[in-house]
Assembly symmetry: C2
Homo-oligomer: 398 residues x 2
């Protein structure tokens, strides 16, 4: 009956796309620890430790910090559907796939959305938010993407956070591609709701969505007039499951929690500032190398965790990605939306952000582009990359 | 910073509660295979194979068969929120926690629910459905729990399926605690939507929810007047991700898919009929032993996968469960709702349904109850259990 299904044996890839990133053997081993019950005292302790470590990585004291039992998009939906009641007004900033998705989710849950749009690759100007807040003074929530995975744009948040708080609104931030690789100071900025995914800079398999809500946001959720439409994502119940009451809600993804705990422990052992510095250093090195290859970055403000570049004129996007995958086992990402066929997205997230991987992708791209007829000086790419940071600086930081 | 968090090292338990069940090392090894990208051709093939095997276990040809990226309750929510539009009428049968949950979920998504209630532990009488369908002829969906995890009741579905189809309605079935251990013939009964969890009779860690929708149900979903409120669970988009179009929706839980694929492969290697027979045999043996201990079953129609018995008068429920866990590493379940402190729920699901485990739990319970002052004839429990099935019959079946 099952004879025609072979043995599961996925190839070991080098994951340099927009996520998942490389998962260390240490995290995979934790993932495969014996499954225990979701109400086992040992599991409850693992949940507690996971929350404590998540708070450190989110840089927050928020009690309501936990992992939603779904992938990053479930985290987005959890933040939106708990804060929004039908008829609430929400400003959503759209400059890529994930801002667009947040708008869609908010509308499904009954929000009146006042979108702010800008070109893909650009970031949102605080003045746009200020203007929109004046125009729509009843705005309850402002949603914005910190790290737009579809374009590589890194959204500055300081001024925007001040504007939103001055208006009395709640600031909701997508940190899927930043948490654990770029500074996301929840309490420092006063972010009210934030979600991420495990498979980006945390370097854990996909399947959980870390979220955090400020006390002010939790108060607003507890004061809702209507039940949260999604039972599965309802924070009014989830807080009693993750909290000291331990009221059974749903069966948590036990083994995924093991993996997340281990991944968080690795981050705290490395040190969050050191980890952020590592992402910056490898990004600078990669950027210098890619630019030496003649590739141009799409966003003005590039993430250090995801590098989106234009595919050079005359080069077939898919051919290069296919060769990277088939010849080098390297995955990079394709463009989405207006950048379909026109962009490459090269991730340097978590365990994937290494000198080894920067060296490998630059060398592989140089070989493939040379083979496709591009005139490149052999070795110039790596020299440029090295010169941009200096290997002694590298040795000091990592 | 992280110094105070120890090494992850969960104890190897014997999982005989209401789920999760024991996960074999083979499935854990699959879980820990290298993470690859969610759009990697190798992963797309793993998704395809997983769907094909899920169809065999669901006994269906339904194209729209897949795993929702969440636990069983997300599967419930996916079935309800796709079939229900605000104002639709739905009959929900409530005879335990999970029927009650389905009612709550349906109301959140705007259904006008006509509940049918019966005592916890009882099953729903087809006549109740027939009456309710006459009373509410505009009913669109009838939701019912096949295997009520909170009471151990096994709901017969044949007559009910006929009644629902005669009315033109859609039949939605919770098979969380039956799929892979009890016959769930989706096409044979014409079930229109069904969900399960991975951590019960499939013996995979929790984190995914297998679901299947009939072509008729998919047509109804595609003809909705309103968008599905939940973006994450929207079948109109999920079908393009799991289907041949492969339109990116969300990042699937890659490693959990590995584990599910492996668990399904083990089921098909064992043979579904053989596996169902194994669950029956171990249940008969356990039942005879528990009754020899003086324990009485709660439901008239007991599941073979979950055995709910009354806690004997004068025995402290929690003391016994704690001793089982601390002295024997055995987890069994407590009662819920009206059975809180008054019931034990002993699971024999998937990899946990073995002669070894039946022998162990009966012997451990006999020891603990004797120690608590119960007058029991030493060895009588196991003799009764063996006599109920005959070890030669056992050897022939398993």
């Amino acid at each position: 009956m099952a004879a025609h299904f072979g043995q599961l044996d996925p190839t070991q890839r080098v994951l340099m796309g927009p996520g998942p990133s490389d998962v260390s053997l240490r995290v995979l081993r934790a993932l495969a620890a014996p499954t225990i019950g979701h109400l086992d005292p040992e599991y409850l302790q693992i949940m507690d430790e996971t929350r404590q470590m998540l708070r450190q990585v989110f840089q927050t004291n928020n009690e309501m910090t936990m992992a939603v039992s779904g992938t990053g998009s479930a985290g987005m939906e959890a933040c939106v559907c708990n804060l929004i009641e039908p008829g609430d007004e929400m400003i959503v900033c759209v400059n890529g796939v994930f801002g667009g998705r947040m708008k869609d989710v908010a509308e499904r849950y009954g929000a009146v959305v006042h979108a702010i749009e800008t070109n893909w690759g650009n970031v949102i100007d605080p003045q746009q938010i200020a203007d929109q807040l004046v125009k729509f003074p009843r705005t309850k929530v402002v949603g914005i993407v910190h790290a737009e995975t579809s374009t590589g744009a890194h959204q500055p948040l300081d001024e925007i956070a001040k504007l939103v708080h001055a208006s009395g609104g709640y600031l909701l931030v997508d940190a899927v591609t930043s948490l654990g690789g770029i500074d996301v100071p929840i309490d420092g900025l006063g972010i009210d709701a934030c979600y991420s995914g495990t498979q980006k800079c945390l370097s854990c398999p996909p399947g959980l969505a870390p979220v955090t809500f400020s006390a002010r946001a939790v108060d607003a959720i507890m004061a809702r007039k209507s039940k949260v439409t999604s039972w599965y994502l309802d924070v009014t119940m989830l807080k009693n499951y993750w909290g000291s009451d331990r009221v059974y809600h749903h069966t948590a993804p036990i083994n995924m929690t093991y993996a997340l705990r281990e991944a968080l422990q690795m981050i705290l052992e490395e040190g969050l500032p050191q980890r952020i510095a590592r992402h910056e250093l490898n990004h600078r090195m990669l950027r210098a190398g890619l630019e030496a290859l003649g590739l141009n970055y799409i966003p003005d403000h590039s993430l250090t965790t995801l590098n989106a570049v234009h595919v050079p004129a005359g080069v077939d996007d898919a051919v290069v990605r296919k060769r990277l995958l088939n010849e080098y086992n390297i995955e990079i990402g394709a463009g989405l939306g207006p950048f379909k066929g026109k962009a490459w997205r090269i991730g340097l997230m978590g365990s994937s952000s290494t000198l080894q991987n920067v060296t490998l992708i630059l060398s592989a791209l140089e070989s493939i582009l040379s083979d496709l007829g591009y005139s490149l000086t052999p070795g110039a790419t790596l020299s440029a990359a090295r010169n941009a940071v200096g290997l002694s600086a590298y040795a000091q930081t990592v």
